[in-house]
Structure formats: structure tokens, C-alpha cells
Amino acid sequence: MAFEPLKIFEYIGERFTAFLEELGGICTTFVQSVVLLFMPPLRLDLFLKQMEFIGVESSFIVLLTGAFTGMVFALQTSYAFRLFGAQNLIGPSVALSLARELGPVLSGLMVTGRVGSAMAAELGTMKVTEQIDALSTMGINPVQYLVTPRVVSSILMLPMLTVLFDFIGIVGSYFMAVYLLGLNGERFVNDTIYMVDLKDVYIGLLKAAVFGALIAVVGCYKGYYAEKGAEGVGKAATQAVVITSVSILIADYFLTAMLF
């Protein structure tokens, strides 16, 4: 087959156009879902159900991840800080890392795996089995009914999960530092409180809210536009997880550069 250099540009152009289309679709879905929040009717039960699913039901996995992250981070930093006798910095460095980065990012990634894929699969199944069409024909706006509660609940729940992650992570590092590495517990707490600014926590929570929006919007968008039966639903769920995970890491960089 002859080599056709123009085909390369055609391919790049097609991929770029598809990327822009998808980005536009995701942004439109987000704006629609927020605007529809302020239009009646307000279905409070749907919001509470989503908050339970996204927040309460994710708390165990977030607690588990947070505890082990704090513990392993304390262990790793202890090796470095021991070289120049600064083990008392373990607490503050773990707390700062958790509040600024690890809390929001790892909570976001854990929730992406659990919730983002489930949203894409649920809405995708509803799409291919005509349940979304059924909502429309009953005069119900599917975005308002399905997407708005998920997006709003995710924006609210991610910061709360991050608080849990940060707290249990610091508790984990405390036990590691005090009971395994033999540091002074009171000093650990005092140094941590002294070094960690409330601003670090707030910005971490702001990041978490942004990640929450990404998880729900991408998950809902991929599900809402799923095609081709079971294969399409599976693809939507996979793409939702991949796109959200990458988006969280990219957004984290820009938010860090802008906010700190």
C-alpha cells in the first residue's frame, strides 16, 4: 500500500475534531446540569440517594486508602528525615501532602473507580434500553432528572470524603510515627498544627470539589451518549474512568499552579 502523507494530517484532524466535540459535549452537559438545578421541580430524594451512593458508600474505601497512605508516607519520610535528624517533620510533611495533594487526588481517583464507572454504566444501560427516551416522552428532562443530582452530589461529597481521607491519613501517620518510630506524640501534633495552614486545607477541598464535578460530568456524559448495546456500555464505563483519572491529574497541576 502506498504511503500517503496527507492521510496522517487527516487522521490528526479527525482525532482533534473528535476531542473538541467531546470536550464541548462535556462542558455543555455540566452547564445544563447546573442551570437545571435552579429550575423546578427540585427532586430532593434523588439528591439524597446520590449523596448516599457517592459519599456514604465510598467512605469505607476512602478511609482504608487514607489510613494506609498516611502510614506509608510516614514510613517513607522517616527514612529521609532520619538522615539529617529531622524526624519531627514527619507529621507536618504528611499533613501538608495530604491536605494539599494526596487527599483530594487519591480520594478523587478512588471515587472515579467506584462511582464514575457506575454512573457511566447505569446511564449507558438506561440509554440503550430506551429508559432515557421514556423519561423524555413523559415530559421529564433527562438531564435534570439524571445528571443534575449526580453532579451536585458529587461536588458536595468529594470535599467531605477528602476531609475523611486527610483526617484518617494523619491519624495513620501518627500511629506509625509515635508507636513504631518512637517519636513524641505531643510534639507530632503541635508541629503539625503549627505548620499546616487552614488555607492548605481549603484549597485541597476546592480541588476536591472540582474533581467531584469532573467525575460526575464525565461519567454521566459517557453514559448518556453510549451506543451499541452492552459493548457500548462497557466502553463508556472504561472511557469514563480513564478520561476522569487523566483529567483529575491534569486539573490538579493547573489548580496547584494557580491557587498556591
Partner: protein, 250 residues
């Protein structure tokens, strides 16, 4: 509710699906739309219920062109429509009772006890009793269609749309569904639109029949017109023959 379809056109890319459909769905009668798989029957229905916008043409419901309405205006019109989807489209996270109650909860202020009563009544109409607490996954195909019909008639609509109501059902269940369509039409006096491939069922339930071919209506008439037609396309379809002007696209 009379529905006038005028010069309706729709293409997906280069593929022309509807190529100028003109048809009147008569008020209070059952109109069956026949045609090969992929001939545009479902696309036509999706235009009537506002899920798709045409490239050209009008759909006039009670004097209003619904293709030009805003979402909120269309929503008001759609409250007069009940749709039984091909897959029944029951909400699988809800029980049968919740599915049937859903449009009542969304669009009325009726008290809970009254809604429970209406749900029981509509399920009884379709021949189902005591299934309110079951989930759609626990139902057979025929039961799902009947629950879908109960949900479609919950708000006592003026127009009922059936998308292939008997596809995938055994002959006895198909006849049961046909009888339900006739009973519902008579009981509620609704305008019914049925998409079907089922020839005996069509002659049983239809007041009017339209056959689509290559995006156009090739014949519109009453069942006798169809029985007596010499049109080779219609004859081949009615006689279920592979040979003839109708070709299977592969």
C-alpha cells in the same frame, strides 16, 4: 387528537431515512405503520414524540407544529402521549408499582393512596394483579410489555404509541397484546399509532395502515385497501416473500 405529518424529511449523514412523509393519523383510530426493518418507522415515531428534529417538514398536533416548539412547550404536549417502547423501557431500578406510578407522581398532585389505587386499576386493565412489588428483571417479556402499557396509560393519554408491541413474543401473547391494544383504544377512545411487522395482528387492530418504503409512504389505506392492493411492494411484504422488489439490505 389528530396528527398531520407533512413533508417530513430526515437524513443521518448521507443516509436519507425519511424522504417526504405525508400522512394523517386520524383522531380516535388505530393507525399501523408497516415496513421493513430499517425503513424509518422508529425514526418517524421519534419525530412524533419529539426525540428527533426533522431536517424539513411539519408534525401538526391539534393545529400546533410540534417540531418548532421549545422544550417546555413540547413537554406540555407530551403529557397527552403515552408510549410503549419496543423493549418496554421499564425503569429497572424501580418496582413495577413504582414504574406505573412514576408519571402520576411527576405530573399530578394526587395523594399517595389515590396513586396506589390508580396503579392497581391500570395493572388490572392489562391483566396483571399483585405484581406491584416485583422488579422488571423478574418479569417475562410479555409481562414487561403489559406493565409498559399500564405505565403508558397511567395518565390517560389522548395518543398511545406502540413501538413493535408484539416483537419477540409468542403467538398467544402477541394476540393478548393485540386484544389489549383494541380494548385500550375502545376504553379510552385514544388515537393509537402502532409500529409493527406482524401482518395478522395489523389486520386485527388497524383502522388505517401506512406502509413505508425507502423513506416514503407507498400505500395508505384501510385494511381492505391493503388486502386488495396490486402494489408489488406491498404484496411482497404482506405475503412474506423474499423474492420481489423489496430487497434485504446486507
Amino acid at each position: 387528537m389528530q396528527i398531520d405529518i407533512r413533508g417530513l424529511r430526515k437524513s443521518f449523514g448521507d443516509h436519507v431515512v425519511l424522504d417526504g412523509i405525508d400522512m394523517t393519523i386520524e383522531d380516535g383510530k388505530t393507525t399501523v405503520i408497516l415496513g421493513q426493518t430499517g425503513c424509518g418507522k422508529s425514526v418517524l415515531i421519534k419525530h412524533i414524540i419529539g426525540l428527533l428534529k426533522p431536517d424539513a417538514g411539519q408534525i401538526v398536533v391539534n393545529g400546533i407544529d410540534i417540531t418548532r416548539l421549545r422544550r417546555s412547550e413540547l413537554t406540555e404536549i407530551l403529557k397527552n402521549f403515552g408510549v410503549l417502547f419496543q423493549s418496554a423501557a421499564l425503569f429497572d431500578s424501580m418496582t413495577v408499582g413504582e414504574n406505573v406510578a412514576f408519571p402520576l407522581i411527576e405530573h399530578t398532585d394526587l395523594p399517595h393512596a389515590k396513586i396506589v389505587g390508580i396503579v392497581e386499576e391500570k395493572l388490572a386493565i392489562v391483566g396483571l394483579k399483585g405484581v406491584e412489588s416485583l422488579y422488571p428483571s423478574e418479569l417475562s417479556g410479555g409481562m414487561k410489555k403489559r406493565v409498559g402499557l399500564a405505565r403508558a396509560i397511567a395518565l390517560e393519554p389522548k395518543v398511545l404509541i406502540f413501538d413493535e408491541p408484539t416483537t419477540g413474543l409468542d403467538p398467544v401473547m402477541s394476540d393478548t397484546i393485540d386484544n389489549l391494544i383494541i380494548d385500550t383504544q375502545k376504553r379510552l377512545g385514544v388515537t393509537s399509532i402502532v409500529i409493527s411487522h406482524d401482518i395478522p395482528g395489523t389486520f386485527k387492530i388497524a383502522h388505517w395502515i401506512a406502509m413505508l418504503y425507502k423513506g416514503k409512504v407507498v400505500l395508505y389505506g384501510n385494511p381492505d385497501d391493503f388486502k386488495n392492493t396490486k402494489d408489488p411492494i406491498v404484496r411482497q411484504f404482506l405475503e412474506r416473500k423474499a423474492e420481489g422488489p423489496l430487497q434485504v439490505e446486507v
